[in-house]
């Protein structure tokens, strides 16, 4: 368990709801849920959620900290916003799910080898480095995220698509060497560093 996770356990004792309210994006909304289940009934990947959305909200109130944060559920969110559009209580469910996932990751509790979590990292690294997405490099890292031989298999399986994208000029091999990026990369790096520091400080000091 990470130090930060230990610190949070100490700090909030058994009040997981309070911890979520203080540290998770839009977490103050959790207590507004009335358990109607409309959200999970509207979710495109609904059957793949280990714990449906309303159950997660109930578990937060019941203090099931480890079970919630180590669940793969939140990582099934495709950001379709169907739940937000339909929730009778107006909960920003999508953002809460993203917030729970990223908080779990910060504490080192997110499930290991969760593909969307890994993909999210690859994606973020690409933006932080270039200011813009490098689709080709992301694609290549994605194929190889589960090791070299799996990567070759994935790349071969997708070569037809890769060729089609090149042929229609919707991907260029030169992207691999440089490619799309912003001019003020040092500025963007400074900005993101500050934003990250602010967020880290905000989380550890909140509620004091």
């Amino acid at each position: 368990m990470s130090d930060m996770n230990q610190a949070m356990v100490q700090k909030y004792r058994s009040n997981f709801l309070k911890e979520v309210e203080a540290n998770v994006e839009e977490g103050t909304w959790v207590k507004m849920c009335m358990q109607c289940g409309v959200c999970s009934g509207s979710c495109p990947l609904g059957p793949h959620w280990e714990h449906p959305q309303q159950e997660l909200f109930m578990m937060i109130r019941a203090g099931k900290r480890e079970e919630v944060l180590s669940s793969s559920s939140m990582w099934m969110c495709t950001s379709c916003y169907n739940c937000i559009a339909r929730c009778p209580r107006g909960l920003p469910i999508t953002h809460i799910m993203h917030g729970l996932a990223s908080y779990a990751k910060r504490l080192g509790l997110a499930p290991k080898n969760q593909p969307t979590s890994k993909f999210g990292d690859i994606f973020w690294d690409s933006i932080a480095k270039n200011g813009r997405v490098n689709e080709l490099k992301i694609g290549v890292s994605l194929y190889f995220m589960n090791g070299f031989s799996q990567g070759i298999k994935n790349a071969l399986a997708s070569r037809e698509l890769g060729m089609a994208m090149m042929k229609t000029k919707r991907m260029s091999p030169t992207e691999y060497f440089g490619g799309h990026k912003c001019k003020d990369l040092s500025g963007i790096a400074k900005m993101l560093k500050k934003a990250k520091e602010f967020e880290a400080e905000h989380i550890t000091k909140f509620g004091e």
């Binding site: 495709t78 169907n82 990751k105 593909p115 993909f119 919707r170 991907m171 900005m191 500050k194």
Partner: protein, 302 residues
């Protein structure tokens, strides 16, 4: 609303030359030329973080990215509306604005980050962030668009696939979440026939999870395509770059898994309008389709 003198353009990562929505960018240029929409690209704009940025980025870093675009737009193009053709870019920009306006703590973090590069955003003073579709529907009007059509897309039946993020959580004013009609009206404005009651009109294409959970993604797309065929569609049209990519380009994978024989073109609204306004196949970027839209090419080449 009337058409503005110009718009501050935020193309987004996919709509760059030789990126996955290169065909959108090219056809959108042709469409804007036909409709006399003037765009000034925000110099040095950055990625919005997309929906998947939360995992690595957290809240303040992710929203700072959009805030930088807003501040740059203001610096370069004053109060001009920011126009994004990509739903994820549009949503991220609006969410950053909302958070700055309603969550002082997050706003403080965003501005602390922006201060590092001499920029800032102020609650209540940011330009409006709009989707390209809003410009067409609200500022120009579909009736006006219909009047300028020189090559009606006669005999083409199209399933209007709106998808998620152009429709939720913000959507287009006056449209319902469950059955928005503007895309059907746009199809008709171009002289084509819209599939009536397209069942998967607002279903999810799996978004970024197509990359990390491909099997689950293919299952969702399979239903979207099946419903288009059920409605008798010759092709699908979408306003979203990720939907276009997800629905068009995995059809052969889906065919292998499910034994289906899908081969349906998936085009952008900008391509329909470009062709209906007499632009060439190439200007409408029909050569950028993996599954060629033969019926549109025939009309464009006439």
């Amino acid at each position: 609303m009337a058409k503005k003198e110009f718009y501050s353009f935020y193309p987004g990562c996919s709509s760059q030359p030789k990126a996955s929505a290169d065909n959108f960018l090219r056809s959108s240029n042709a469409m804007c030329d036909a409709l006399d929409i003037k765009l000034k690209e925000i110099d040095d704009w950055n990625c919005c973080g997309a929906s998947i940025g939360y995992a690595g980025g957290g809240e303040v870093p992710r929203l700072s990215l959009s805030a930088r675009n807003i501040a740059l737009s203001q610096q370069q193009n004053g109060d001009a509306d920011i126009v994004a053709p990509c739903a994820a870019c549009w949503i991220a920009t609006r969410e950053a604005q909302e958070r700055v306006e309603h969550n002082p703590k997050v706003g403080e973090g965003i501005n602390a980050a922006l201060a590092e590069i001499g920029l800032k955003v102020e609650s209540g003073k940011m330009p409006q962030a709009r989707h390209m579709v809003e410009v067409l529907v609200e500022d120009i009007g579909l009736d006006t668009i219909a009047k300028g059509v020189t090559k009606p897309l006669e005999g083409v039946k199209i399933a209007g696939y709106v998808g998620c993020q152009t429709n939720r959580p913000f959507g287009i004013a006056g449209e319902s979440f469950e059955n928005p009609l503007y895309l059907d009206h746009m199809i008709e404005a171009c002289g084509a026939q819209a599939v009536d009651k397209y069942e998967k009109k607002v279903a999810c294409c799996s978004g970024a999870l197509m990359f990390s959970e491909p099997e689950k993604g293919h299952a969702l797309v399979k239903d979207i395509i099946e419903a288009a065929y059920d409605g008798g569609a010759d092709m699908i049209v979408t306003p979203c770059q990720l939907c276009q990519m997800n629905v068009e380009s995995y059809q052969s994978n889906i065919n292998k898994t499910y034994g289906t024989k899908f081969n349906i073109p998936v085009v952008y609204y900008s391509q329909l309008i470009a062709v209906a306004y007499g632009k060439s196949s190439q200007e409408a970027a029909l050569d950028g389709q993996i599954i060629r839209a033969g019926k549109l090419e025939d009309i464009a080449n006439k």
